[in-house]
């Protein structure tokens, strides 16, 4: 009797175990493409460890993301020149031929399905005995953050980006917890009419009169906020 019970229990559990193993093994095609098409190189593991001043993409509005890929490819979205001596978007533009539109839809859908605070994956153990220098987290001036909070309210950013930049309109970007340096560069490019793609034209009057110090404050404030969850943004996790 006991043997049968055990066998029955096993029979009930086993398919479920198999199914979840299969689920884990089958990766989202967007996730695979994100690696094979080299997006991971600049935007980091899970799209959440972008290098230098490039943006993290995890959990961002997927339509917004897709539109950016199209605009960067076509040249509709350009940027000011960076330290390389080229427009900031040029490095990405020159490899967009690696993906089809359909693949970009899969990639941006996958990115949009991630929680904005998803942890990047670190696979390899370092071989070298040399210690990698620890990078200190940048210190943010609390006065700057307070000033930024006031400005965010005063300048009505909430109208499109939502309260605390956490609940944007459809196809707009959430801002909470994003990299300050990236946001500051975008705001300056939008203010300077260098970036005019999509809804950034609508944004121009909101930022036209901002001084560099204002931009620094607003982006510092936004970068210190907790990133919203998909549930908070009323988006489904895949």
């Amino acid at each position: 009797m006991r043997k049968t019970a055990i066998l029955m229990a096993f029979a009930l559990v086993f398919p479920a175990v198999l199914a979840s193993a299969a689920e884990k093994a089958a990766k989202d095609p967007g996730e695979i493409l994100f690696t094979t098409k080299t997006c991971v190189a600049c935007h980091g593991s899970m799209g959440n460890k972008a290098i230098l001043d490039y943006p993290n993409l995890a959990g961002q509005d997927p339509v917004y993301l897709f539109n950016q890929t199209q605009d960067i490819t076509s040249g509709k979205r350009v940027a000011s020149v960076d330290d390389s001596g080229h427009p900031r978007t040029q490095g990405m533009r020159e490899i967009m031929h690696l993906t089809t539109t359909e693949e970009l839809k899969q990639i941006t859908t996958w990115l949009g399905s991630l929680e904005p605070d998803v942890k990047p994956v670190s696979k390899r153990k370092r071989r070298s005995k040399k210690k990698k220098a620890a990078v200190a987290a940048p210190q943010v001036d609390p006065k700057l953050v307070a000033a930024g909070k006031k400005l965010f309210k005063k300048k009505q950013c909430r109208v499109c980006h939502g309260k605390e930049g956490k609940k944007p309109l459809k196809a707009h970007s959430f801002l909470a917890g994003r990299k300050a340096i990236y946001m500051a560069l975008q705001m300056k490019d939008i203010r300077g009419k260098v970036r005019t793609n999509g809804k950034t034209k609508t944004m121009l009057p909101f930022v036209k009169k901002l001084k560099d110090k204002d931009i620094e404050a607003i982006t510092a404030y936004l970068s210190t906020l907790d990133r919203p969850t998909l549930k908070h943004m009323k988006r489904k996790k895949k």
């Binding site: 490039y54 001596g85 080229h86 040029q90 490095g91 490899i95 071989r127």
Partner: protein
């Protein structure tokens, strides 16, 4: 009037800083380059593996690049050449906005890191199946190669490390064509001026023929990896 202008003009000229490579400048061999420091250092192979990790995303864990030529094969390249190109990219003697961030010291490290990763790369087995050209003009390609390229790139495309002439044998065809074109047409600013002169008269047809020939040049057998080989350093 002139007596006043001349000394001022001379003072201005003397005050101008030593020429740094800038957009539009052409420099085959920049002086005071980090390259000079890196060349003198002893390589640390183990550190080279760690430095190389960031490169794997585009150049692949095997260093075999992509067949469509977007990313070249690095495996087996002379360490002197790798050092020079990395230095040139980060000093902006060679334009590459996609790669530029990855060549920066804060991404990979200083002169020692460049020396280390160059050591690792040169020892990687090479791609047994690079992207090839059409194969329809190889007789022309062979002749053009013999008449124009041997003196620098060697009988079999093996290059000359001491002179920084790269190993080109078995490189992806589309990458070869793009670089050849840019060197010929002046877009590649760190091109060797002798090469620019040498290939000035090449038509596009010539270019495709000779690059197809080069893509099929075989490195020594012991340097070539097996098809499907996966680099165990990154598994």
């Amino acid at each position: 009037m002139i007596r006043k202008i001349l000394p001022i003009g001379m003072a201005l000229m003397l005050a101008m800083p030593a020429a740094q490579a800038a957009e539009g400048d052409r420099q085959w061999m920049a002086t005071g380059s980090e390259r000079e420091d890196a060349l003198k250092l002893q390589p640390d192979y183990e550190n080279g593996i760690d430095v190389y990790e960031v490169c794997t995303a585009c150049h692949m864990t095997e260093g075999w690049g992509s067949e469509d030529g977007t990313f070249p094969q690095l495996a087996g390249q002379h360490w002197q050449v790798t050092i020079k190109q990395l230095s040139d990219i980060r000093e902006k003697n060679r334009d590459n906005p996609t790669m530029y961030p990855f060549a920066l010291p804060r991404s990979i490290g200083g002169a020692q890191a460049i020396r280390d990763v160059a050591d690792y790369i040169t020892k990687l087995p090479m791609n047994p199946e690079p992207g090839l050209g059409a194969g329809t003009d190889l007789e022309l390609g062979a002749k053009l190669y013999k008449d124009n390229c041997v003196q620098c790139h060697g009988e079999n495309g093996e290059g000359m490390p001491d002179k920084y002439y790269p190993r080109i044998q078995g490189q992806h065809y589309k990458y070869l064509v793009r670089q050849f074109e840019w060197i010929r047409d002046g877009k590649r600013r760190n091109a060797n001026p002798d090469m620019v002169k040498q290939i000035a008269g090449f038509s596009d047809k010539d270019m495709q023929a000779v690059m197809d020939f080069v893509s099929r040049q075989k490195p020594p057998a012991e340097m070539v990896g097996e098809p499907g080989w996966e680099n165990p350093d990154f598994q």
